[in-house]
């Protein structure tokens, strides 16, 4: 499975390399030459030690530098009920690993002996486990990861028994779906799908009987390595802004053949081989688009030829309206790529580039290393299997804003068309902007954390936080986590602004810890309305002044003049202050709503 951070030129990850990376890193931590950026605690019902270097190696390759502690062997409940004493010094992530054979030993054995009540007892045991995870959730602010159980491999029974087919399978399926159902009711618990991983690699290949009998370690080295890879991918994804757009070549990428030479009728795309391999790739692109990934084209072609394929070829699953931006010309693609990013208002570091020409890929990697460049397989049968495992689009939650992003971009193009006919002031008035400021409810925290982790441009402090950290702040008495929703006559931009406020104990002072706006709503004075709304809340709370910091980053220049433009003066260092009376009111053409203001007090 590809790790997004892997750069060309680094050797492929294998168990030996993962162990070597991990050994080098832990030696540096021991001498104090390196400090971990993330602390992970693992508790397992089996010996999990050999997993540590594999998880560590994969995380290091993904650019996350972790410390990993192992909890005591087979004490999941104890760890859930008292994580602090089992992970001294504290951890950011707790991983709970379990197997059916270990957690419900008696029940599964009785089930195999025909006890009709055994499955019910096993579900009872599972429910106690669910309660323990819920207890951990309420006591632990970090990320919790729990696995779906792999198929049992150390029982006196076998998956392929002819006498009673499906028996153990039914037990495993029932327990697995009950676990998913239970854990989905606990906020912010991530599922590590070891069931799917085992299906991918095979039950027989995942088990090592010698390691089991000697060390109580049931898994094969390969399976542990792949578990480390999957777990590492999950943990790295929690800390990384996702890629937002795929830039596609056309000839031999979206379809087989070259439109300029073969003509529209000579292209391979549709129901027959090899055209349906390309069509399957287009269907994968449409699925990604539905999840919020934008599609763009960078092709060396005559523009009219390309659109003719989109409009006239009946085999195309992709339609012209699915393409959010394009550069179809004979300029170098490394020059076209920034134009696409600019048109979509995103950074080039959120682009993935797919092309069948190895020279284009090499050139892009050299000229634009921040773009994730992927070579299209030459063999049509390899296209779908290679592309659907791209880790570049990993994300742990798909929010409704993601799903709507591609549609919002279309509305944006209409807004821009409207802008070209009007003066800016008229345009803004005509937009009928509505800005709604509200304390973030629990169901919006995923989206809020996503904005915190990916917003680069209009972001005063660029403090990144996991959703679990945000959840803690949302519940803290002196903090407030705000969301901002923006809409205009063309449509709803959704939740596009976040503020985190810390109130001083006597509440006379509000400090803005985080203030950010998605670039989708910049250029409309939404930020002025946002601040005016916060100031109104602060006034109702009894505060007199606002504090804020501007921490310059490589990308947040668009927010640089925000504080001085809005009545703030320098206090010291990065810190600015303003009396509430000097905060300007919101622009007259923005309708500011604060639907919560009567409902919250204290």
């Amino acid at each position: 499975m590809s790790s997004e951070a892997a750069q060309p030129g680094t050797p492929p990850m294998d168990p030996k390399r993962a162990r070597a990376l991990w050994r080098e890193w832990t030696a540096n931590m021991e001498t104090g030459a390196a400090t971990p950026a993330l602390r992970i605690g693992i508790a397992a019902t089996f010996t999990a030690n050999p997993l540590v270097p594999y998880l560590g190696g994969h995380l290091l390759e993904a650019g996350v530098q972790p410390a990993i502690q192992l909890g005591p062997y087979h004490q999941l409940f104890q760890v859930c009920l008292d994580h602090r004493s089992h992970f001294p010094g504290g951890v950011d992530v707790i991983v709970l690993l379990w197997r059916i054979e270990d957690l419900m030993t008696e029940e599964v054995s009785a089930f195999l002996h025909g006890d009709p009540e055994a499955l019910g007892r096993a579900l009872g045991r599972l429910s106690s486990f669910g309660q323990a995870v819920a207890a951990l959730r309420s006591a632990f602010a970090g990320t919790i990861i729990v696995n779906l159980p792999p198929f049992p491999s150390t029982l006196p029974a076998h998956a392929l028994e002819l006498s009673n087919p499906g028996n153990l399978g039914a037990f495993h399926r029932t327990i697995t779906s009950a676990l998913v159902e239970q854990l989905s009711r606990i906020e912010g618990v991530r599922l590590l799908d070891l069931d799917a991983l085992q299906r991918h690699h095979g039950v027989a290949g995942s088990f090592d009987a010698r390691q089991w009998y000697l060390y109580h370690q049931p898994f094969s080295d390969r399976f542990l390595f792949e578990t480390g890879a999957l777990l590492g991918r999950m943990i790295a994804t929690l800390r990384r802004a996702p890629r937002k757009c795929i830039v596609l070549d056309c000839d031999n990428t979206l379809w087989g053949g070259v439109v300029g030479e073969d003509g529209v009728g000579g292209l391979q795309i549709g129901e027959d081989f090899p055209g349906w391999a390309y069509r399957d790739f287009q269907k994968l692109l449409l699925r990604w688009r539905q999840q919020g990934i934008l599609l763009a084209i960078a092709s060396k072609n005559n523009e009219a030829d390309v659109w003719e394929v989109f409009e006239k070829h009946s085999g195309m699953a992709l339609k012209r309206e699915h393409i959010s931006a394009w550069q179809i010309n004979w300029e170098p693609k490394a020059e076209n790529i920034p134009k696409i990013a600019k048109a979509l208002n995103i950074g080039t570091d959120s682009l993935v580039f797919i092309d069948d020409n190895p020279m284009e890929i090499d050139y892009m990697r050299a000229a634009r290393p921040e773009v994730h460049s992927v070579l299209m397989p030459e063999e049509p049968a390899d296209i779908l299997p290679a592309m659907r495992v791209l880790a570049a689009f990993d994300r742990l939650e798909i929010t409704k804003e993601d799903r709507g992003r591609a549609e919002m971009m279309r509305a944006e193009q209409q807004r821009e068309a409207a802008l070209s006919h009007l003066s800016k002031e008229d345009f803004l008035r005509d937009l009928a902007l509505t800005v709604e400021l509200f304390p973030a409810p629990p169901e919006e925290l995923d989206r809020i954390a996503q904005l915190i982790n990916k917003t680069n441009q209009f972001n005063l402090s660029t403090i990144r936080r996991s959703v679990d950290e945000v959840r803690v702040l949302a519940a803290a008495p002196l903090h407030r986590v705000y969301g901002l929703r923006v809409a205009d006559k063309f449509g709803d931009y959704g939740l596009t602004g976040v503020a985190i406020i810390e109130r001083s104990p006597a509440k006379q002072r509000w400090t803005i810890d985080t203030l950010l706006l998605s670039c989708r709503v910049l250029g409309r004075q939404v930020e002025t309305a946002f601040l005016a709304g916060l100031a109104a809340d602060a006034l109702e709370d009894g505060a007199h002044e606002l504090f804020a910091s501007f921490v310059p980053s490589a990308k947040n220049a668009p927010a640089a003049s925000f504080l001085p433009d809005h009545g703030f003066t320098v206090a010291e260092g990065h810190a600015w202050r303003a009396a509430l009376t000097s905060i300007p009111p919101g622009p007259p053409y923005i309708n500011l709503l604060r639907p919560h203001c009567e409902t919250i007090s204290a």
């Binding site: 070597a20 050999p50 000697l214 060390y215």
Partner: protein, 78 residues
């Protein structure tokens, strides 16, 4: 002259190869703990393309004893 077996031990344990000889054992080498014992089995099987029995694994309490096990499996050049 470094033997193949010494290279495997050095790679897995992270110990310089000149510190490894036939008397190297878990008792005198702190790096050879129970975790590394598991990794050693995997690495030896991979390096010599063999499969070790649990009995053989349990008997491998020093580099010399590992060499003896490998010789019984027909690997002379270790």
């Amino acid at each position: 002259m470094t033997t193949r077996i010494e290279s495997v031990f050095s790679e897995v344990l992270g110990v310089p190869v000149d510190k490894i000889n036939d008397s190297t054992s878990p008792e005198n080498t702190s790096e050879w703990d129970s975790l590394q014992a598991m990794n050693l089995v995997v690495a030896l099987e991979e390096a010599f393309d063999i499969k070790l029995s649990t009995k053989e694994i349990v008997s491998m309490r020093s580099v010399g004893l590992v060499r003896k096990v490998l010789r019984t499996k027909g690997i002379a050049d270790v």
